[in-house]
């Protein structure tokens, strides 16, 4: 079946992502921020689906929306909300903030302007069923080294967290 109303869904999901992204940093109550972040992650997963990447979309939901954000919420639920609401929400480093915002914006504009030469003309379309296989082939074939390095970094982070959290091991 042909995809229907793709333009509408793209703009709808993008608007949802941006809007909930803004809500994440403007809400005072941390639980509200976490919920907005969940919505942003789900909308992002839907965008992956629109790009014919069902595996990435599924993993995004399971890991980020269903796993990591639950742990976020878990910690936030233990925080004293009244005390955290009295604290200052934004810090005063607006010069650095402005500089990095401009740099990031310039990068986006540059990539958008050069998009013709940077990216292939048409999306690489794969048969839908073999998407997961393609991801695996890329991860464990072409990018094996980078993938293993990334997992090593995660391991170091985990051990670091355990060492910092536990005085006696």
């Amino acid at each position: 079946m042909q995809p229907i109303a793709t333009t509408f869904f793209f703009y709808f999901l993008s608007a949802l992502t941006v809007l909930s992204g803004v809500l994440v940093i403007t809400r005072k109550n941390p639980v509200h921020s976490a919920l907005a972040l969940i919505v942003a992650l789900l909308a992002q997963a839907a965008l992956y689906l629109m790009l014919y990447a069902p595996f990435v979309a599924g993993v995004q939901i399971i890991l980020y929306a269903g796993g990591i954000m639950v742990l976020f919420l878990f910690v936030i639920m233990l925080v004293n909300i009244e005390q955290s609401q009295r604290e200052e929400q934004f810090n005063k480093q607006w010069i650095i903030g402005l500089a990095s915002a401009i740099a990031l914006g310039a990068l986006f504009v540059f990539v958008f302007a050069k998009s013709k030469s940077l990216f292939p003309d048409r999306g690489i379309s794969m048969p839908e069923g073999s998407n997961t296989q393609q991801v695996a082939v890329l991860l464990y074939g072409n990018y094996m080294f980078a993938f293993e390095i990334a997992s090593l970094l995660l391991l170091v982070a985990i051990i670091g967290a355990v060492v910092m959290a536990k005085k006696r091991i």
């Binding site: 079946m1 595996f55 979309a57 939901i61 929306a65 269903g66 639950v70 069923g129």
Partner: protein, 347 residues
């Protein structure tokens, strides 16, 4: 290929039927549970409403609807109202990708007995059930009560922990089947080997250990005995739904039983060959029999659920966590490695 109008009409019909059947099944699982646990404990269970108490679910439903819907003054209202909805929506949505039988042709329309056949069906089920945690966690937080908060915290920690072993136990099946689509996984389990043993994944694929890992983690995922610590009534009143009453409470209740049914469906599809079974007789019987075999398996799982509930005592919380992380998880990883080695060696 269907035209868009027929597609929409057929889908709506299938959704209505699936939801009706699922909700009826939920109601009668509750009846079955009360009846079976009653007999295990040498009681009769419900007997008064209708023959064998068969109309008891109806009476319960009417009672839930007409009870006063209390909202305690100290709750955080938006999330307090949204939490049971999130729980129920997540529980009902996952039925959309579960196939209950082969393709059928009714009135010239050739359609699968399934709302939609996605090629990432299993991932969708895992994703939606992992989102179901939010219903419980937010209910616990928004109630602003210590029992609810502790219940919600326990539930989210328990579900996140056991989700890992649950997912890993399924990957063994995925390696054997080579597809995420539930329909493909079931199709791969047709036929027999050595003459009479069916080629179900639990036998032929060697996923015997994975099956039990899945079963145990699924009990923990659905907060059932012996892992029902989130609502341990002897210490937490009722856990995360302490402050809920009437229909909002009923929504949590329905979500729990709908999740049980989903888990039973996934176990039947992935490990026990789905709807495969002896098919014979006239065409109408041939169309119905696979569905019957599938429902029989699901019923078997639900019965075991209830049986376990009537038999086992509750775990202590530290035992639960140690069991999940130190026993089930290593076992699931070992099963995964061995399955991968065997599949690689066969290929």
């Amino acid at each position: 290929m269907l035209s868009i109008e027929t597609f929409v009409v057929v889908s709506v019909i299938k959704i209505v039927i699936a939801l009706f059947v699922l909700l009826t099944a939920v109601a009668y699982t509750v009846w079955l549970e009360r009846k079976v646990v009653g007999h295990i404990q040498n009681r009769w269970g419900p007997t008064r409403v209708g023959p064998f108490g068969l109309l008891q679910p109806l009476a319960d439903g009417i009672k839930f609807i007409f009870k006063e819907d209390l909202t305690p003054p100290h709750v955080y209202k938006p999330l307090y109202i949204a939490a049971p909805m999130i729980a129920l929506i997540c529980a009902l949505t996952s039925i959309a990708v579960i196939p209950i039988g082969n393709w059928v042709t009714i009135g010239g329309v050739h359609t699968p007995l399934q709302i939609t056949d996605l090629n990432i069906g299993l991932l969708i089920i895992l994703g939606i059930t992992s989102l179901g945690v939010y219903g419980v966690a937010l209910a616990g937080w928004s109630s602003n009560s210590k029992y609810s908060l502790l219940g919600g915290l326990r539930a989210s920690a328990q579900m996140v922990s056991y989700e890992v072993s649950l997912g890993l136990s399924l990957i063994g099946v995925l390696i054997v089947a080579g597809s995420f689509s539930l329909r493909d996984i079931v199709d791969g389990q047709g036929g027999h080997f050595w003459g009479f043993i069916p080629k179900w994944n639990i036998f032929y694929g060697g996923q015997f250990v994975a099956f039990f890992i899945y079963l145990i983690s699924a009990y923990a995922e659905t907060n059932r005995v012996p892992f029902d610590l989130p609502e341990a009534e002897s210490e937490l009143v009722a856990g995360y739904h302490t402050e809920y009453s009437a229909m909002k409470f009923a929504m949590f209740f329905m979500a729990e039983y709908a999740n049980m049914i989903t888990v039973a469906c996934v176990a039947s599809l992935l490990f026990l060959g789905g709807w495969h079974g002896p098919v014979f007789g006239p065409p109408i019987l041939q169309a119905i029999l696979p569905v019957f075999w599938f429902v029989l398996r699901v019923f078997g799982f639900l019965f075991v659920y209830i049986w376990v509930r009537g038999t086992l005592p509750r775990f202590r919380y530290d035992q639960l966590m140690a069991f999940g992380w130190k026993f089930l998880l290593p076992l699931a990883i070992a099963n995964l490695v061995i399955t991968a080695l065997v599949v690689a060696w066969r290929a």
